[in-house]
Symmetry: D2
Subunit: 336 residues, 4 copies
């Protein structure tokens, strides 16, 4: 049994609270939030009435470090650098759900996040929280940067293929996301009557997940990443189109995932759907080769808040603290 604290009350933080309640070896002992400090958690988030018996605290790194075995930071990108630094200085293990510690190169951070990185000294100890790739390093990690939702859906399907053959041209990655990915702050664009029955693309060629995907696929290819939003709450579907130099054999490339608890490669001819991963930590992968064009088309799906953020954080915690990796994550998709 370990004790955890959560900083923030946004969507990633809420999903951590939900998953913590269901995890047999995790006890949620503190929630800290500047805006809601002093309030009962259930008054801010009625979904947790009779689930968590907590009063929200002001953020205090030392106090959290004292009572927690790990602290999860779920605040908007850009705001976690100070918070994570303070928590690390206080000696507690930290998992950051945001993007502030994912890019190893501070110049790329500055280019894509439009600000200077304020804690470059911590970048070296930050471990990218993707267990299929960094399982061993995660065991002793002090600071884990949980991967971005879009990158997870691209890195897991791409790496085994790029190990077989390199890309002939920039890889085209078109992702469609549910709206929870935009966070909990209301805005005109995501006001229900504006986004319902709507589709749009955004941040063409400038999205901050571009360098993260390129870094974690080993800088083996440029990616042309276009994110889209569709009127659903949870889920990402990513379509990757790609012509390899030389032959690729996805079936053999993906054999490495047979033993992965949360990666499911579908039988040939099957394609993944968001509903099969909703409410789970799974990444589902399907593909087709097009003999006519010479392209490989790969489709992957995740639940952006679980497999894309907080479920992945739980899996990292399981690795970090020696629990069974599936502990607290034994869910089939919520379908319907």
């Amino acid at each position: 049994m370990i004790r955890i604290g959560i900083v923030g009350t946004g969507y990633g933080a809420r999903e951590m609270m939900r998953l913590a309640a269901a995890h047999p070896s995790i006890e949620l002992v503190a929630v800290a939030s500047t805006s809601a400090a002093g309030k009962r958690l259930e008054d801010v988030l009625p979904a947790f009435r009779k689930v968590h018996d907590l009063t929200i605290e002001t953020f205090d790194a030392k106090a959290l470090a004292k009572k927690c075995d790990a602290v999860i930071v779920g605040v908007p990108s850009g705001q976690s650098i100070t918070i994570v630094s303070a928590l690390r200085a206080a000696g507690v293990r930290v998992l950051d759900l945001g993007g502030d510690f994912r890019l190893k190169d501070p110049a790329l951070f500055e280019k894509y996040y439009k600000e200077k990185h304020g804690a470059t000294d911590l970048l070296a100890e930050a471990v990218y929280g993707l267990p299929p790739v960094y399982r061993d390093t995660l065991k002793s990690a002090k600071l884990v940067c949980v991967p971005g939702c879009y990158p997870i859906s691209a890195i897991l399907p791409l790496n085994p293929i790029l190990d077989q053959a390199k890309a002939a041209v920039p890889i085209v990655i078109d992702s469609i996301s549910g709206i929870s990915g935009a966070g909990r702050s209301p805005s005109e664009g995501y006001h229900f009557p504006e986004m319902n029955e709507n589709l749009k693309a955004y941040k063409l060629a400038v999205h901050q997940h571009i360098p993260e995907i390129e870094q974690e696929t080993g800088n083996r290819a440029m990616v042309q990443f276009t994110p889209h939003v569709a009127p659903l709450t949870r889920g990402i579907l990513t379509t990757i189109t790609f012509r390899a130099e030389g032959e690729v054999d996805p079936a053999s490339a993906y054999a490495r995932y047979d033993a992965e608890p949360f990666v499911r490669v579908l039988p040939q001819g099957s394609l993944p759907e968001v509903k099969h991963v909703r409410g789970t930590n799974f990444c589902d992968i399907g593909w087709a080769k097009d003999a006519r064009t010479g392209n490989l088309v790969i489709v992957s799906t995740i639940d952006n808040l679980m497999g894309g953020t907080s479920g992945m954080a739980i899996q990292c915690i399981n690795v970090m603290f020696g629990f069974d990796e599936r502990e607290g994550l034994k869910f089939g998709g919520i379908a319907p």
Copy 2:
């Protein structure tokens, strides 16, 4: 640890499979279905790939009774009478998710379900699976009829009030349900483009849940029940309008629910929303008194597939087998 079997692959059955995977003391050992027998479960329901390692069986009551401590029957209403009878004859404890054993009066069954009841001898041993009311009887129950989704949302808020004062006129109950309540069979009315952006009422004055609500509120009032559907997948919101003969005090009436693990009465001035109960076993209740009209208006919410069906079945199993009642159900609402 107990072993359970599930008959059926409809929405109630699927939700049982999902919840069984997450329950620390339940092992799902069999799924039986006539239409899908012989197929791998994951090929029929891809959401369960790497979750349940099972091949779907032909229904065989004796075989199931032999390897299971309890069998859950999740087939369309009308079809479970034979199946439940066979399972009971084979000696195994049964939970029926459908409506075939809920009405104590076979004449009412015939009137509302439009067929003769084929196993009236079993009606006496059938326990209505609503733990806040039948907790003690459930402990040794051999046959549990899990309550209907609409009735749960009406009975739990109504009974404490009717204990204080009787209704002056028929109680008006208007419920709004998500579409999963209509089951998994495709039909024109629930084809996505027909039901999205749509609202409708149905079965005015003839819905089979009318006698179930009246029976389980002690036949203390007639109910005018009008069900509606709205374009969401999961959730029921029920609005109950009601003028009492004499004074009612909801706050004191509902004090009995303070210790209930899955009934949450909201502070005065707060109203429940479906999102706070989605993915949970909770029934949330709020209310307002209208001094001008003399009416009491009560609003309740449940997740029709969890608190309205399969979560309630898990809670019953917890009572029947002596587990902590919250085991396997420690979820806050999936919000978002």
Copy 3:
């Protein structure tokens, strides 16, 4: 051909712009808005690129009166009193989409709108813009208050019935609305991930449409009105439950609507659905009598932005200016 101006850029105003474009005898010559003055209409509302060639103006009553035959005011309730007063002083005919001029009794306005009415002198000349009831008066009206969306869905089905028999008890009216009814301002409650897959009731016993419904049904009955919201953009479904003193015969009561261009009473046994009125000016009505309880249950549907606001305004304009009442409104439901 008449020239109209529109004040505001909220949802009611936008729908007027859309309908004006399709009306053969209406030319939209001005849009005025404080917040957007000076901008091209198509830059604020891209839906109107290549539809309306206009620059948004600062509100100037005299200028509008000079170039318009009628001005439609579509601003939030409470803000139109000043605007309408100025326009009427400038001599132009006005249609107000908001609630400021609908209640004849200023005391009720103050009670439900929580402010003193600042132009009570105009209340006498304000004609309630419901052609089936006020057709003759509308012909020469100078100030039209377009009815509220919920009231339309209640008044049209109720009046013919109340002409036959009075209500034995307060009439229970439960309405379900799409989210566009909440207006265009983003808020946490109507942020897409918060409202999608959600249902809630609100403003129990205090909604400002209560006195409007009671006034326009001739104060013949108290109403217990509970509004709900569901995850769709457009549409209202209203369920009215009601026990009459004496016999009622809906079929004969509703015969008066045979010749109404935009009221459709369904054949007995049919119930209305929102999809059949979406994108139209129709109000559809169905009903059932419950012999067991003695109640009459009526269900009605409208598109809250068309039949509930702007389509109704167009119909009023057609009456006011002597056009065919169906002009510019010849739409069947957008289904799908």
Copy 4:
């Protein structure tokens, strides 16, 4: 004023009925359907009660030819060959909403539609109904094949660019469609609880719109087309990713659309959204050049049932019969 007949009651046919009602120069005089013959139109499609006063007829080519100036055929692909042949033999002008006459090469038809083409003699007279490209030919066309929804969203943005420079590699086209594109027949995959909150890709590398796009972009590039579905009813968003050999300048390339009534090229920096074209005949186009990858990314949107089918058919009729091209189509987007 012309008289039209419609064959079929599917989604394309229904949208034609809706648009015909609003068109000042079109009278709908007949609806023919095998399955619904003899029924009142309003009983089959309640959206048209008090809109069209028609009884559905059995299909009779000669009778239709006699009373109609044009007949629109809206039946599932594969079924229109016989119907169109009979209508043409009877001498009436025909617009086919399906795909049976779009491919000039019968071998491609057989490959992608999986059947032999039964009326190859008619292929020569079939004019592809895309007014910006075939306006002059359409004026005297006897048989118009209305373009496919996906192709319209790709051909309009691609052609001006391909006139400037050819593609270096296959063009990647990822489209997202609303579910009405799948037609009116209920199926498990599009049952509301299965498709709501879901995303999926389908028909990778084999979709029948691939050869249509290649044909109508002049066979200047292979396309890698991947269609996706998202939980909305209407709308297509298409993202086209493309590296040109040599320089392209979209702003100048698209200048040809300035005078097009239904193509809207957005100012640089703006991207189209489905909501701005919903309920309209517009195709909106935006783009970005990525200096880093050398790619051009174009995004386009249409309403698949209007700009993608029936609105386009109305525009063709306007051209064919000499009406103003915008007649009956003067709608801004239904937003919200």
